[in-house]
Subunit: 109 residues, 2 copies
């Protein structure tokens, strides 16, 4: 039987000029990806506006997400998750600068 497997903490490059997106599952209604950040943030003035909802968890490191209309970003540390409704505008305010942040994102209809 073909069982796709892997480890979410494997193959993290030492240098990360840009955030690294790795697809882990691509199914009709759900897409799971790993994101590795290293001090990255969304460009100034940029907002994600996604047609699908996204459940996201930080597995390593730390990050903060700012939602449009909120006064301050929500900090996510190891194990913290949140659910981003479709079209909820948000941006990555910051990610830890000196060590990788590993996210797991579950995009779904």
């Amino acid at each position: 039987m073909k069982i796709p497997t892997g480890n979410v903490f494997a193959d993290i490059p030492a240098a990360l000029p840009a955030e690294l997106f790795t697809p882990l599952l691509d199914a009709p209604n759900v897409r799971i990806e790993r994101i590795v950040s290293l001090g990255h943030a969304s460009p100034p003035g940029f907002w994600y506006d996604q047609p699908q909802a996204e459940w996201v968890i930080v597995l390593l490191g730390a990050a903060a997400i700012l939602f449009e209309g909120e006064a301050s970003p929500r900090t996510l540390r190891r194990g913290d998750y949140l659910h981003i409704p479709a079209h909820a505008k948000h941006r990555v305010a910051w990610t830890e600068a000196d060590a990788p942040t590993v996210w797991l994102a579950v995009h779904h209809r």
Copy 2:
């Protein structure tokens, strides 16, 4: 804006007479749950036979899943994930006995 949040490592009871299943997201096509095990395994002769596919990752601890027809179970340690197709019969062969194992399961159509 209502943004559901939490931490997957929070509220782990010291004693676990049975595995603990905690729903984290319940959407039309995807259901995410946390599972906490402590030495638990599927009952002898029991096989999961699920109508939906399941992507599962071990975030803490260790466990092993046996698929029907395979000679030995697949061990999962921190960060290891695998995808269980719908109706792929499987059972939990073992989970770590002396510390909790935390799984994240993404059931999807």
